[in-house]
């Protein structure tokens, strides 16, 4: 009997050991998989159990948190939702996050390992650190000026600081209020459906995620290619290019909105926005050179992050000469985001040096201790400084004596380029009004801001749509706000 009791005892302990081994399997070995299972609500409960860190603009928060008292306790609030929606994005218990809320989610939610007191903190304690703060590069005055300027019309504004690549304004209109998407009630799902179904696409970030045919503002790029390739050496020498211009290999002839293009110099053609001249220059420079220049400006780049991904702006690399001619005046398949065109203006203003844009200035923990500086990418040379100087002269001329006059600011040097882009079937869609510009202090040559504005104004008369008329004043207001 004694032996049998011993065996029974041993068997009982074996059962307990089996339980322990299995517990090790569930609690340690397979735990990560269980914790990451989307059906496991713990991660989101923990995540929403504390107030989310703030997104700051100009040193003060534009986001907050509201205690809902529910299971997913803290909901996101936005002080000026529609104004900053293209910057912050939304943070929703139901629909996740977007833009900065998404890109910096780890910091804001407190899950980022860089916030931890020591490596492995989260694994050991299962607790989150208080959410950190994300300081953006946005200039609130410029942001407001851009938002007011668009005034609910469909369009977008992107402004960057040429030397540093700081994004100063990022506005998409019409906008939406991300407050409507915070939380997880029925009102949130209703708002989500309504916003996504809306004809006017309020949740589309037109500054980063929408490309438009750039039209005449692309002539900045074409002019750069012509100068860099040596096709044009003197911007004041007459070019004597045919007007109208028959596209190579076709019977299509291209005309100009204004007379005086046949014997114009590059500077003059730029001021008059001569389609014939720039289409021909593009063909003369050649596809490789044109595409190369566009790509140095940032076209065809899938990898641009600010830190949210920016949609690729396109310049085709396989075209026949006729398509190349159209592409060189910003038509055909050429398409650009407003941010991309702001980068083009910034590269010109910064003497040919392009600093990739970034939106996050710095990231701190809840106590204000620096966690990381925003991502900076190295500056690249788009053109040599001499070319940049010639382009600056040409763009200044547009504002001084051309279509860009609405953008002039007293006491500062402003350069710009207007554009009106045809689009749609046989160009029957409402054209887009474009304006790209930069402003510089007269005395110290320091470029303050580069701005791109696009207005897709389906309300106005067709003739009224001109880059100078619709978009110029907005650009001026944004630049002026930055100078104050």
């Amino acid at each position: 009997m004694t032996r049998a009791i011993r065996h029974t005892a041993a068997f009982s302990f074996l059962l307990l050991v089996a339980l322990l081994v299995n517990a090790v399997r569930v609690q340690l070995i397979e735990a990560d998989g269980y914790n990451a299972n989307p059906a496991n609500r713990r991660a989101s409960i923990v995540r929403y159990a504390q107030p989310r860190g703030t997104v700051d603009v100009g040193g003060s928060p534009v986001t907050g948190s509201r205690d809902s008292g529910g299971r997913l306790r803290y909901e996101r609030t936005y002080t000026e939702g529609p104004l900053y929606a293209p910057v912050t994005g939304f943070s929703s218990q139901l629909y996740g996050t977007s833009l900065i809320e998404h890109a910096e989610d780890g910091i804001l939610a407190g899950t980022d390992g860089r916030l931890a007191l020591f490596p492995g903190w989260g694994r050991l304690t299962g607790a989150l650190r208080p959410g950190g703060r994300v300081e953006t590069t946005i200039n609130p005055a410029m942001q407001r000026a851009a938002y007011r300027g668009l005034d609910g019309r469909k369009g977008a504004v992107a402004a960057v600081e040429p030397r540093t690549g700081r994004v100063l304004a990022l506005v998409s209109s019409p906008s939406y209020d991300p407050n409507e998407l915070s939380g997880n009630g029925a009102s949130v799902s209703d708002a989500w459906r309504r916003l996504n179904r809306s004809e006017r696409q309020p949740m589309l970030n037109r500054a980063l995620r929408q490309t438009y045919p750039p039209g005449s503002v692309f002539k900045v790029v074409t002019a750069t290619a012509a100068l860099e390739s040596g096709r044009v050496r003197d911007i004041d020498a007459p070019l004597d290019l045919p007007d109208p211009y028959t596209l190579p290999g076709t019977h299509t002839s291209l005309g100009n909105p204004a007379p005086g293009c046949e014997h114009a110099s590059l500077k003059e053609a730029f001021r008059l926005s001569c389609n014939t001249v720039f289409a021909r220059l593009g063909v003369d420079v050649g596809l490789r050179e044109m595409a190369g220049t566009a790509e140095r400006f940032g076209f065809n780049d899938r990898g641009l992050r600010i830190p949210s991904p920016v949609v690729r702006s396109t310049f085709d690399t396989r075209m026949d000469p006729a398509q190349l001619a159209l592409s060189s005046i910003g038509q055909y398949d050429t398409a650009a985001t407003p941010l991309q065109m702001a980068m083009v203006a910034a590269a010109v203003a910064n003497d040919g040096q392009l600093t990739p844009p970034h939106l996050v200035d710095k990231v701190t923990d809840a106590g204000g201790v620096l966690v990381a500086a925003g991502e900076r990418r190295p500056t690249q040379e788009v053109m040599n400084p001499a070319t940049a100087e010639q382009l600056q002269e040409m763009m200044t001329e547009v504002v001084a004596h051309g279509s860009g006059r609405p953008a002039a600011i007293d006491g500062f040097t402003v350069g710009g380029k207007t554009g009106t882009a045809q689009h749609g079937e046989r160009n029957e869609g409402m054209p887009y009004a474009w304006f790209v510009s930069w402003v510089r202090n007269k005395d110290n040559h320091e470029p303050v801001a580069a701005v791109a504005v696009v207005v897709e104004d389906a309300e106005a008369e067709r003739e009224d749509i001109s880059g100078g008329g619709s978009a110029g004043p907005i650009a001026r207001a944004v630049m002026a706000a930055g100078l104050r």
Partner: protein
Amino acid sequence: MTAPAAKRAAGAHPEGTPPPSPPLPKRRGIELALLMGAVLLSACGYVVVGFARAHPVPSGAAGYGAGLGGLALLAHLAVRLRAPYADPLLLPTAVLLNGLGLVLIFRLDLETPADPAAPAQLVWSTVGVGLFIAVVVLLRDHRTLQRYADGCAALALLLMVVPIFFPAVNGARIWIRAAGFSIQPGEFAKVLITVFFAAYLAANRNALAHTGQSVGRLRLPAGQVLGPVVTIWLISVGVLVLERDLGTSLLFFGIFVVLLYVATGRTGWIAVGVLLAAAGSAAVGTLEPHVHGRVQDWLHPFAGITAGRGPGQLAQSLFAFAAGGLFGTGLGQGHSYLIGFAQKSDFILATWGEELGLAGLTALLVLYALLVGRGYQAAHGLGDPFGSLLAVGLAALPALQVFVIAGGVTGLIPLTGMALPFLAQGGSSVVTNWIIVALLVRISDRARAPRPAPDPAAPTAPGGAR
């Protein structure tokens, strides 16, 4: 007493002759110290839950500590007076488990303020300790139970049949509801049946081991010897199948096989038992939809998620254990309420695993191992076969229960609803476990006491070989 010795002693005085040994120290002081530690630990747990939930110290903390301390002290006094040689670890372990169970239920009540379970559990724990004291004081010698073995069997069967006449709860007819109280008679039946098995097998072990037909190398015991036990067991299992309480029927089966093995010392019984259990499980698992679902859930715990129904209870339980990791989230800071239904009863271990982690779970299993191990220890040091068998059965009961329910909620074996001894919500279970501990205390007192003079009034085994 070794098996050969047991064979030689057939027909001798039922009370065996243990080898002479120096008297063991009583160790009552150690028991008192351990009890204080157990009460303090439980009270600390109560306070920690309060702090974790950003409340001040829970208003009931002092009362809770004092109440548990008072109960522990009374139980200790009963042991000190009536079972002075009892194993000093049994009572503190039980008090600690019961105290921690109350803390856990108090903690889970915070998630369901509308449906508190802690007050009732506290009342039942008091009843349990009261019964512990009653057993220790009134039952002077465990061998008395041998006389009532048949009565125990009858009462157990009665208790198991009664719930059939009451409405089913969650598919199982195991409750008697009266006057706002619900009792699970099956819990009490476990002890009664164990007493009957132990008594019957103690009386008939020689007959079981040495009579009957031989089939090849396997000698079958005589039918008339095995008959009554198998009959009782079959009836009880039948009743359980009717009541959809398969965990308990598995438990009965396990206890029966274990006691049969210990009584006869023949490993053949284990083989037969395992085969029968496997066959029975397979048959029931395929035929019974309720059980079939449990097996499917065990094989594919995440099937509900992939089907879009959300995680099932077992998946939620696994999530809870995984969230605990090595050290747990801390008392009161887990999210085991996501398990929902039965979080305070069948799944209470998941809360423990999540909030105290693998470390806490290991500690808990060690506590159970102590309780069970001390039971076997008592069986080991005892001279009389009935006492040994009873102690083995009473120790195997919680061991098997812990394995079945803990294995179920951690995905080791299919889940069968069963109360985790002392921890889970359930009055009948707590009371029953206190009775088990009381009986083990009584037996261990006898095992560790200096050898008493032979008791002329010792009961004789019913139907014993004479």
